[in-house]
Amino acid sequence: MDVDGSQARMAAFLRDHQDKIVGRWSELVVAGVRGRSSVVEARRELEDIYSLIIAVMSGPGEAGPGEQARVELRAVLAEFSRSRARSGFAPGETALGVFSLKEAVYELIADAADLMPEFLAFSRLIDNLGLYTFESYAAARERIITDQATSMLELSTPVVRLWDGIIAVPLVGTLDSARTQLVMEKLLETLVATGADHAVLDITGVPTVDTEVAQHLLKTVNAARLLGAECTVSGIRPQVAQTIVSLGIEFGDIATKATLADALAHALSRAGLKVGPA
């Protein structure tokens, strides 16, 4: 955001015609978002940005009030972009909001030929601000997507209590490393909270079990063992069984069962319990 020393006259012009320019700017911005915001709302936000732009242009060089205003302006624009991103406005609409200030100013300045060179420098400043706004928007959108992905991951990883001391983790979907981390965390936290000593990892809903998935399962079992819990892997479908054997995957001393029911019976018998007629 480079500012020429000769911006003083431009700054004065902006100050003198503030009301008219901000008014016109607000109209242009609202027209750009097709009525999703009112002129009054837009004006409130833009007034702030406008004052800061004047402050940046009036401040001399690197230190002092000009620098302070520059920092504040970046912060305000970043917040402007963030809220637009969250409200679902398009990236173009958001950046256009900044660029249309040029148009509003130009309409008034078109007849003042002596201010043209300064208008050029002003235009450059607005271009930089517009780009910065666009970049902030992009970063904010990315953040939202990451957060949503995390929530989805959380929601699809329940841990249920089957019986005293026996919990089950029904895994649905692919078991990649991100998922495995989450499963381990939730499983271990539940072990601590419930004092369970047996966990059933049900993989009925896991479409493919290859060496990588098997490693993830093994990791999860290892972690649970460190907290004194034993694990059983259930839900091994016939096709999955073939893949496991042909890939040479060894489950070692981890008990494996075809169904969750079998796994529950196994866990109950290990706990010294059995189910019988009433």
Partner: protein, 117 residues
């Protein structure tokens, strides 16, 4: 250098680690435990690591060694109270600590010990 205290209750030795473990401290603990096992003829050792935030490969190996040392004196060792974050990290490091039994807490650790004797 700090020393980790060893408590004797019945035929079990209790070790509760409350400090940030320095290498020398762990080695000293091994020596102290060996001495106590011989002196008391205890049959079980419970090492409580509820308060331990970091277990790296060195400390992990030392804990496994404690298990081996105890076995030489015919005593069983149970590691209790490992924090989830520590368990996940150890698993990622590839340390399964085979050679020491584990339990959720001291109470379950004792159950394990009485079950095996």
């Amino acid at each position: 250098m700090e020393r980790v205290p060893i408590l004797k209750i019945g035929s079990t030795l209790f070790v509760s680690i409350q400090i940030d473990l320095q290498d020398e401290t762990v080695i000293r603990l091994q020596e102290d435990l060996a001495t106590e096992l011989v002196a008391t003829r205890a049959t079980g050792v419970i090492i409580d690591i509820t308060a331990v935030e970091i277990v790296d490969s060195f400390i992990g190996r030392m804990l496994t060694m404690i298990g081996s040392i105890s076995r030489l004196f015919d005593a069983e060792t149970v590691l209790v109270g490992m924090r989830p974050a520590v368990a996940i990290t150890l698993t990622e490091l590839g340390l399964s600590l085979r050679g020491v039994r584990t339990a959720l807490n001291a109470e379950k650790g004792l159950e394990l010990l009485s079950g095996s004797s």
